[in-house]
C-alpha cells in the first residue's frame, strides 16, 4: 500500500492522492488516474464513521514539565490523534495544560533521529558539519562496547561518564548500574541545573530535600516567589483548575520581575529587582515579627506576652536564665530576629528591591493575617540565584512564621508511595569497578567551593554544570567515553560554550536522544530514543492536589522509526555487547536480578527486560502480595489493571503529622538552622577550614552567625554597569516542554500566550522607557551582549518589566534540534538566541545549583 514515497515537491501522485483523501473519494480518483500511490490513505477515509473514528483512549504520562501528569492518548489506527488528562488521576483530576497537546508534534516530528548515526567528520565544533551517516543499532552498540572495553582493559573505567537529563524512575538501570558495574563514579544528573537550590531552603528549614505540595483548596493567601503556577512549576493543570475558585477566597501576591501569567491575574504584583528576593523576604519576616502577627500557636510567644521584637533592638536574653520566649514548633525565632531581622525594615528593603515599603508591609500583614492558611511559594526564580541558598531559606521560613508548614491551606509534602529501587548491584561489581567507582566525580562536588550540601552532607549533591569545567581541566581525571541521554547540556546550561568546548575535546561521545540537538552535533554516535509519552515504558512519581501518585509511561504507539528505549533497551543491548567481549557482569545483573516478579522468568531481550524491571519497581502498586500493597493508596488489581488505568493514587495527605518530627537537627522548623550549621561545619572540617572561609569560597557575603539563619544577601552580577547597563533575567514558557518543544509549529504559532512574547519569534523584552532612550522599536533586531557572549534577537517593547531590566524567555535559540527550532539547521543558525549563551556559568554553590536566575548577568543592547 505504501510502495511509493513521493519525494518531489511537485509529485503529482502525491497531490492527487491527497486530494482524493480530502474528498473522501480516493477510490474513484485512483481508478481514474490509475496510479499505485493513489490509495495511500485508504485506511482513513474522509467519510469516516463515528465508530471507526472513535479510537481508543490509552494512558501514559506527560513529562513536558515536572508536573508529570497522568494523561490519555486517543489512538486511532495506531496513530496518536488527541490528548486529555487521565480522569482516574487525583493529582491533575483529568486536566492537562497545553504541553501534552504539543507532544503530538514531538512524536511525529520529521526531524527526529530515525536511525543510529555515526560521525564521519572527526573535527568537532559548532558550525562544523558532523557528516552523520546512518548505521545499524548493531554496529553502533559494537562501537560503544569496544570503547568501554578499551577503558576497562586499560584499567581506567573512571574515564567513562554518563550524563542524565530528564528521566523516568527506571533511570537507575542505566544511570546507576552501567557506570557502577563498569567502574566509574561519573554518573552526572541534571538536577543541579534544574532546581536544587529550591530544595536547599526547605531542607535547612524543615528537613525536606524535596519540592512541596500546596493546599490550594483551603488557602487564603498565596505569595509566589518567582513562581508562575498557572504556567509552570510542578502542578500546572491542577493549579490552573483550582486557581479561579482559589482566588475567589484567597489573596494572590506575586513577586516576579516580570508580569507573569500568574502575576497578571494576581491581586498584588511585586516586580522585585532581580536577585533581591532575600531582602524582600527578610523584610516581610521583620514586619510579621515587629507587628506581632506571627502564628503564636505554632511559633510560640514571649512568656509575658510583650512583643520584644522592636525595630532595631535586640531581644536581650542575657538578663535571665529563664527564656523570654516560649517557642513551640519552631527553633530560633529570637536568634533570627537578633542576628538578621531587627533592622530589615520595609523602608530598608524598598531601597534594595524597588518595591514600595507600603506594599511590602501590606503583603506581609495580609500573608500573616491568613494564619496557617497561607502559602509562601518558593520557586527556582527566587532560589536558583548566585546567593539564592539563603533566599530559598528566607522565603520558606515565612511559612514557619505563620505556621502553614504541614497545615490545612498551607504547604505540605508528599505521601509515601510503594515503589521500589533497583536491586543491589554490588555483587556484580568486580574489583576494578568496586574501587574505581568510588573515585571523585568529575563535577567537583565536595570541593571547598562546591559544598553541594544535599541531605546535609558535603558533596552530597550533583554540580551538573561544573562537570564541563572538570572535563576541560581533566580533573579529577580525564573523561574519554561518555553517554548522555535525554539531555542537552550544550543548550540547557548557562555558559553553554564550556560544554561545547568540553564535548569537542571528548574523544568518544554517544548521544541518546529523540532529536539531533546541540549536544548531538558533538557526538560520535547519535542513538534515536523512544519518545517518553508515546513510545516508552517507565514510571514516574510525583504529587499534586495533596495526592502522591505513580504514573506509567506506556508504549501506546508502535514507533515509526528504529528507536529504542533509553533507560532499558539500550543498556540491555550494551550489556549483551559487553558480555560478547568477555565482560558479562552487567548482563548477569540485568538477567539475574530482574526476573519477572510474577513468572520468575529471566528477561531474554530488551523488551522483556523493560517490562520485568517496570513490574518489579512498581510491584507495591499492583501486586497484592507486596508488603506495601494498599498501604498508602490505591489497590490496583494486578499488572494488567495498572497498565489499563495508568495511575496509582495515594491517600490524601494528612495535615500535621510531621510537626515536631521534622527531619531537622531539632525536629522543629528551624529559623536558626542547626541542620545547616552542622552541614557547613562538616564541609569546613573536611577542608580543614572555617565556616566563614566556606562562605567566602561560595560567594556569600554573610559571615559568622548569619551563616545559620535565613538572611539578606545582595544580588551578584557579572558585568560593569557602565558598560552593561541592563540587568538581564530569564523566565519559563508555559509551552516549553523543558526546552524541547521549540521545534513544534504549534509552539511557535501560540508563543504569545507567554505575556509579552510574540508568535514565531524569540523576543527580548524591554521597558518602553529604555527602548525610547535607545531609539528602539518593536521588531528591531538587537544584539544582546554580556561578559559571557552575545545573541541576536528581536526587540519587544513591553510594560511588564522594570526599566533597567531586560528579559527573555528560555527555550528558543536552538542552533540544532530541528528545522523549526533553528533558523537554518544545516548552517547551525539559531532562531532567536539561547539565554545560556549570555548567562554567566554561575553557581549557587551550597546546593551545587546553576544560578541562572537573579539577574546574574548584565547586558548591553545594540541595534544590529
Amino acid at each position: 500500500m505504501t510502495d511509493q514515497i513521493p519525494t518531489s515537491k511537485h509529485d503529482d501522485a502525491w497531490q492527487i492522492s491527497r486530494r482524493g483523501f480530502l474528498q473522501g473519494s480516493a477510490g474513484t480518483v485512483a481508478a481514474a488516474a490509475g496510479g499505485p500511490a493513489l490509495s495511500l490513505f485508504s485506511t482513513a477515509s474522509a467519510q469516516a464513521q463515528p465508530a471507526e473514528a472513535a479510537g481508543k483512549w490509552m494512558p501514559s504520562t506527560c513529562q513536558g514539565c515536572t508536573s508529570w501528569c497522568p494523561v490519555q492518548i486517543k489512538v486511532v489506527d495506531g496513530r496518536a490523534v488527541h490528548m486529555r488528562g487521565n480522569p482516574l488521576a487525583k493529582a491533575n483530576h483529568g486536566k492537562i495544560c497545553p504541553r501534552p497537546h504539543l507532544a503530538l508534534q514531538q512524536v511525529y516530528d520529521p526531524d527526529r533521529v530515525r536511525q543510529p548515526m555515526k560521525r564521519t567528520n572527526p573535527e568537532k565544533g559548532r558550525g562544523k558539519d558532523p557528516g552523520f551517516v546512518p548505521i545499524s543499532w548493531d554496529e553502533a552498540m559494537d562501537m560503544l562496547a569496544d570503547k568501554i572495553m578499551e577503558l576497562r582493559d586499560a584499567g581506567e573505567p573512571e574515564k567513562f561518564a554518563l550524563f542524565r537529563g530528564r528521566y523516568t524512575y527506571l533511570r537507575d538501570i542505566l544511570y546507576s548500574a552501567v557506570p557502577k558495574i563498569i567502574g566509574s563514579p561519573n554518573n552526572i544528573s541534571h538536577s543541579a541545573i534544574c532546581a536544587e537550590a529550591e530544595k536547599f531552603g526547605p531542607y535547612y528549614v524543615e528537613g525536606q530535600w524535596d519540592y512541596r505540595d500546596y493546599d490550594l483548596e483551603h488557602t487564603r493567601y498565596v505569595l509566589c516567589w518567582g513562581a508562575d503556577p498557572v504556567s509552570s512549576n510542578r502542578q500546572v493543570p491542577h493549579a490552573i483548575n483550582f486557581w479561579g475558585n482559589m482566588s475567589d477566597n484567597a489573596t494572590v501576591a506575586v513577586v516576579d520581575p516580570r508580569l507573569s501569567a500568574t502575576a497578571a491575574k494576581a491581586d498584588e504584583w511585586l516586580p522585585v529587582i532581580p536577585g533581591e528576593d532575600s531582602a524582600l523576604a527578610v523584610a516581610m519576616a521583620h514586619v510579621i515579627l515587629a507587628k506581632g502577627v506571627w502564628n503564636k500557636a505554632f511559633v510560640g510567644d514571649f512568656i509575658d506576652g510583650e512583643n520584644r521584637f522592636v525595630v532595631g533592638q535586640t531581644v536581650d536574653e542575657s538578663q535571665t536564665t529563664v527564656p523570654v520566649f516560649n517557642e513551640i514548633h519552631t527553633h530560633g525565632v529570637v536568634q533570627w530576629w537578633n542576628i538578621e531581622l531587627k533592622d530589615r525594615t520595609p523602608e530598608w528593603a524598598a531601597e534594595r528591591t524597588g518595591i514600595p515599603a507600603e506594599q511590602i508591609r501590606r503583603v506581609a500583614l495580609g500573608f500573616a493575617a491568613a494564619g496557617s492558611r497561607a502559602i509562601s511559594w518558593l520557586s527556582p526564580g527566587a532560589s536558583m540565584q548566585a546567593r539564592g541558598g539563603y533566599s530559598s531559606m528566607a522565603t520558606h521560613a515565612l511559612n514557619g512564621l505563620v505556621g502553614s508548614i504541614d497545615a490545612k491551606g498551607g504547604v505540605v509534602a508528599k505521601v509515601k508511595d510503594p515503589t521500589g529501587d533497583i536491586p543491589d548491584l554490588t555483587a556484580y561489581q568486580d574489583e576494578l569497578a568496586a574501587s574505581h567507582s568510588k573515585y571523585d566525580k568529575i563535577d567537583q562536588r565536595g570541593t571547598l567551593a562546591f559544598p553541594s550540601l544535599n541531605g546535609g552532607k558535603s558533596g552530597g549533591g550533583v554540580v551538573t554544570n561544573a562537570a564541563a569545567d572538570g572535563m576541560l581541566a581533566k580533573s579529577p581525571n580525564e573523561i574519554k567515553v561518555a553517554i548522555a541521554y535525554w539531555s542537552n547540556f550544550g543548550f540547557s546550561t548557562s555558559g553553554s560554550y564550556r560544554w561545547e568546548q568540553a564535548l569537542s575535546e571528548l574523544p568518544f561521545f554517544v548521544h541518546l536522544t529523540t532529536n539531533a540537538s546541540e549536544m548531538s552535533m558533538f557526538a560520535d554516535l547519535v542513538l534515536p530514543a523512544a519518545h517518553q509519552l508515546f513510545e516508552k515504558w517507565g514510571f514516574v512519581k510525583n504529587k499534586q492536589n495533596l495526592h502522591s501518585y505513580v504514573s506509567l509511561n506506556q508504549r501506546v504507539l508502535e514507533p515509526l522509526w528504529d528507536v529504542k528505549q533509553d533507560e532499558t533497551e539500550v543498556p540491555f543491548m550494551l550489556a549483551e555487547k559487553l558480555a560478547e567481549r568477555g565482560f558479562d557482569n552487567l548482563y548477569r545483573y540485568y538477567t539475574e536480578a530482574f526476573a519477572d516478579p510474577e513468572t520468575g522468568a529471566a528477561p531474554t531481550n530488551g523488551e522483556e527486560f523493560t517490562e520485568s524491571a517496570l513490574k518489579m519497581l512498581t510491584r507495591g502498586c499492583w501486586d497484592s502480595t507486596h508488603p506495601d500493597y494498599g498501604r498508602y493508596g490505591d489497590r490496583l488489581e494486578g499488572w494488567e489493571d495498572f497498565k489499563a488505568k495508568g495511575v496509582w493514587n495515594s491517600h490524601r495527605y494528612e495535615y500535621g503529622q510531621r510537626i515536631d518530627n521534622f527531619a531537622t537537627q531539632t525536629g522543629k522548623v528551624e529559623f536558626y538552622s542547626e541542620t545547616l550549621k552542622a552541614a557547613l561545619q562538616g564541609h569546613a572540617d573536611r577542608h580543614d577550614t572555617t565556616v566563614d572561609k566556606v562562605l567566602e569560597a561560595t560567594n556569600y557575603v554573610g559571615r559568622g552567625e548569619l551563616a545559620f539563619v535565613p538572611h539578606f544577601e545582595p544580588a551578584l552580577r557579572h558585568g560593569d554597569e557602565a558598560e552593561y547597563p541592563f540587568i538581564f533575567f530569564e523566565h519559563r514558557s508555559r509551552l516549553n516542554r523543558e526546552g524541547r518543544s521549540a521545534n513544534c509549529t504549534w509552539y511557535q504559532a501560540h508563543k504569545n500566550v507567554d505575556p509579552g512574547d510574540e508568535n514565531w519569534s524569540d523576543v527580548l523584552k524591554m521597558n518602553p522607557v529604555d527602548a525610547d532612550a535607545l531609539g528602539l522599536h518593536d521588531g528591531d533586531r538587537v544584539k544582546v551582549t554580556s561578559t559571557t557572549g552575545s545573541i541576536t534577537v528581536q526587540l519587544k517593547r513591553w510594560e511588564g518589566l522594570r526599566p533597567g531590566t531586560v528579559a527573555k524567555c528560555y527555550g528558543q535559540g536552538h542552533w540544532a534540534y530541528g528545522r523549526v527550532a533553528a533558523a537554518n539547521f544545516a548552517e547551525h543558525v539559531p532562531l532567536g538566541g539561547n539565554n545560556n549563551e549570555i548567562l554567566y556559568p554561575e553557581f549557587e554553590r551550597l546546593s551545587g545549583s546553576t544560578a541562572r536566575h537573579g539577574g546574574q548577568s548584565r547586558v548591553k543592547v545594540e541595534r544590529v
Binding site: N752, N759, P768, D778, R797, W798, E799
Partner: protein
Amino acid sequence: MDTSPFYEIQPGIIWDARVAWDLSLGGLGVGAFLLAFLLWCLADRRYRPLAQTAAVIAPVAVAIGLTLLFSKLGYKFHVYQMGLNFAPTSIMWWGALLQGAFVGLSAIFAFRLLFPNFSLLDWLSARLVGWVAVPLAVLTGLYHGVLLAVISSHPLWATGQMVIASVLLFMITGSAGALLVHMIRIALLGARSEEGSLKDYWAGLRPLVLVMLVSTALLLVTLLAWWIDLRFGPTRDQEVITAVLATYGSLITLAITALIGALALCVAALLAGLRGRSLPAFATAILCVLMLGGGFAIRYVAVLGGQLNLPISTLATLS
C-alpha cells in the same frame, strides 16, 4: 505607554485588485449601456455609431470584470452552486443573477444595434431588450456599491457614500469609457458617413458633458462627505480612515487631482461650446482618461483600503 491589542487574523488582503477591476469594469459597462440606450432612444441618428460602441462595451466590460472575479474564486468548480441555491439574503447572489442577466441582455442589445436587419428572433427587439436591461443596469450599478456597503464590519464600506459613489462612478466612467473607445475607433477606422463632422458631433453631446461634469462634482463632494463621516465618527472609523490615508494617501491625491482636472476640462468644453468652439480631440481624450483613471483609483482605494487594519481595539470590546 505602549498599548496595542494583538489578535492574529488571516494576514493579507482578502479581496484584491481584481475585485476593484471587476467593480470598475462593471460600472463602466452599465454606464456605457445606459449611454447607449439613451442615445439610441433619444438622440439623433448621427450618434448611432457612438451608441453602438457604447452598447458593445457594456457586455464586454461586465464580462471581463466577472471573469476577473471568477479568477479570484478559491473553488471555481463550485460556481454553479450560485445557481442551484437560493440565497436571497446575499447581495452577491443577487449580483450574480443581475450581472448574468445584464450581460446577456446587453449583448443582445448590442447585437441589435450592430445588426439592425438581422431577423432571427426579432421579437427580441432592441427596444424590448433595452427597456428590460435598463433597470438591471441601474440595479447592477447600485449593486457594485451595496455589495460592500452591507459589510458592516468594515467602516469604510458600510456607508451611504459607498453606494452613492458607486452610482456616480458608473455614470462618469461609463460615459468617459464609451467616448474614449469611440474616439479610438474613429481614429483607427475613420468616422461613419452619417456621423457628420466631428465638431458638430461634439457640440451635440453637450448634455452628456453636463452630466459628466455634475457627476464628477458630486463625486468629489461625496468623497469629502465620506472623509468627514469617518474622520469625525467613532474611534474605529477614525482608525480606518487614518490607515487608508496613510497607505493610499498619494493615490487618493492623484485621483482627486485627476477628477478635478477632468472637471476643469468639462467646464472648458462647455465654455468652448458656448462660444461655438469645441475642445480639441486630444483634450477630450485626456478628459476621458482622467475620469477613468480617477474613477478606477477611487474604486481601488475603496476595495483595498476598506480592508486595512480591521480595528482590533473595538474588536476586543466586550459589552
